[in-house]
Point group: C2
Chain length 294, copies 2
């Protein structure tokens, strides 16, 4: 058997993404040793019971010590304190990466705590399900999905290369872009859709009881798709919105203007305006199908 | 072979739903003869080429004459003129039904044109795909899906029974409710989700070209689901919004209030408000799963 890609990988956080990484690291022989830290003792015990790693740690510094690759897999809001906690324990030459849905805040929160000789290569695997927790992970989660890396221009090239290889072997297609640009793109493709899905499901949850029961019963007409998105992890998504505030508020402003225009067309009975808008959108769907993302 | 349920069924309109009905009518032996009318000569020729019916008519009255069951399958905006065109040709005892997504407007537009002795049993099969046209239909479209009937209280019971049997044999679970109530429920479960999906995809289509390309490329994060919904037939959906205006504007108002509250929480960095909202929505998803609609 070939040598593993890394001697020791530390996973900080063991939810859906962390546990999926644990599975794929084993399948692909990406690490000689997987060290797991997570904040909750109960979750850590669950991870051990599931046999997701080789060692289990109640302190992040113990997991990160001696690791060649440290992967931040906790909600974004935990990054700063985790980075502060592990900074002094990191070995020279270590690579730091993460799996967060926003990238500007990762650089802001983790970067200042890293010592000389340690490289930060932020990563966002564009993959997920509506399930959470260490039992929800599976090795195939990243298969054929994008993983976007957003290293700063001055980042060590070898570090970028090995993190790229890690994600390719996990099954992903890797793309490199600027962190701010990433945050604008994902605000549209992911953050706004989640915010809207959460909102419409919340609106439905406030209805009178009888009506709400029927909304659930007849959800197949479109609402059902929104309930799936709106079942995603609340802590993760709270942190996404707090950490990509400007890009989300910008696209939300545009969305609200467009929705108001359609609302006005409905109120005035302007069928042409509605038909025009509903026709434009078909072109985007065609693009999604052509890009093999459908 | 048993006698068919109806001697002659007329399909007025032959898009996704009409052509799916043609397939299931044949599979289940629901009619001795299927007469097809549709407004466009080109679509009518396509239906004939596909062999969807037994006779093809350029005038709706010719299709409806002698039919025991007439099914309106055109966009809602065509109902009034179609009903006016066929009213005088209907035979006594005929049943009239439809497949529209709003039910109040169906009663308003079709009812006044029906002669004595003809029954109207409005129907809404809660089923569909993002594809349109006579080639997009398939017999299984209605399998295990709800079909909601909204007959007026004074409607002939035999007419309600036979339309119920028709939809059951097409594979649907039939539910009977008041038309106004239907329109409120569907405004939430279907019409608002479609309006929102159209809006967000339209918002994306207005982005600068580079950003738009990447939105398509990375659409798997949530946006993709919206593009599928927003690829639905523009004419059908224009007519839904024009014909269920009040219920849609009401729920849209509530949605906008809720979205504004979340927007405010994001701007102020109020993580608790976000987390609370994102937690409430999981209960609705649980309901959808328990109702076996997921």
């Amino acid at each position: 058997m070939a040598d593993p890609l890394f001697q020791r990988i530390a996973l900080l956080g063991i939810g859906l993404i962390g546990s999926s990484l644990a599975h794929v690291i084993r399948r692909e022989n990406l690490a000689g040793h997987v060290a797991i830290y997570t904040r909750s003792a109960e979750t850590l015990a669950k991870a051990e019971q599931l046999g997701l790693g080789d060692s289990y740690h109640a302190r992040p510094a113990d997991a990160a010590a001696d690791a060649d690759l440290v992967i931040f897999c906790a909600p974004l809001g935990a990054n700063a304190s985790l980075a502060e906690a592990i900074g002094a324990s990191l070995k020279s030459g270590a690579c730091i990466t993460d799996v967060g849905s926003c990238k500007g805040s990762v650089i802001r929160d983790i970067g200042p705590h890293l010592p000389e000789g340690v490289s930060l290569v932020p990563a966002h695997p564009v993959a997920g399900t509506e399930h959470s927790g260490p039992e929800s992970g599976f090795a195939e989660l990243f298969d054929g999905r994008w993983c976007i890396l957003t290293p700063a221009p001055e980042t060590d090239e070898d570090a970028v290369s090995i993190v790229t290889e890690f994600w390719c072997r996990a099954g992903s297609d890797v793309e490199i872009m600027d962190a701010d640009h990433h945050d604008r793109v994902l605000a549209i493709t992911s953050h706004l859709p989640h915010l809207i899905a959460y909102t419409i499901v919340d609106t439905a949850s406030e209805l009178e009881r009888d009506l709400r029961k029927e909304v659930v019963k007849f959800s197949a007409g479109g609402f059902r798709d929104f309930t799936r998105i709106a079942a995603s992890d609340p802590t993760m998504w709270r942190d996404v919105f707090l950490n990509n505030r400007e890009a989300v508020l910008d696209i939300l402003g545009r969305f609200t203007e467009d929705l108001t225009a359609l609302q006005r067309a409905i109120r005035r009975g302007d069928g042409d305006a509605l038909h025009d808008a509903f026709t434009r959108t078909r072109k985007i769907r065609r693009g999604v199908i052509d890009a093999k993302q459908a």
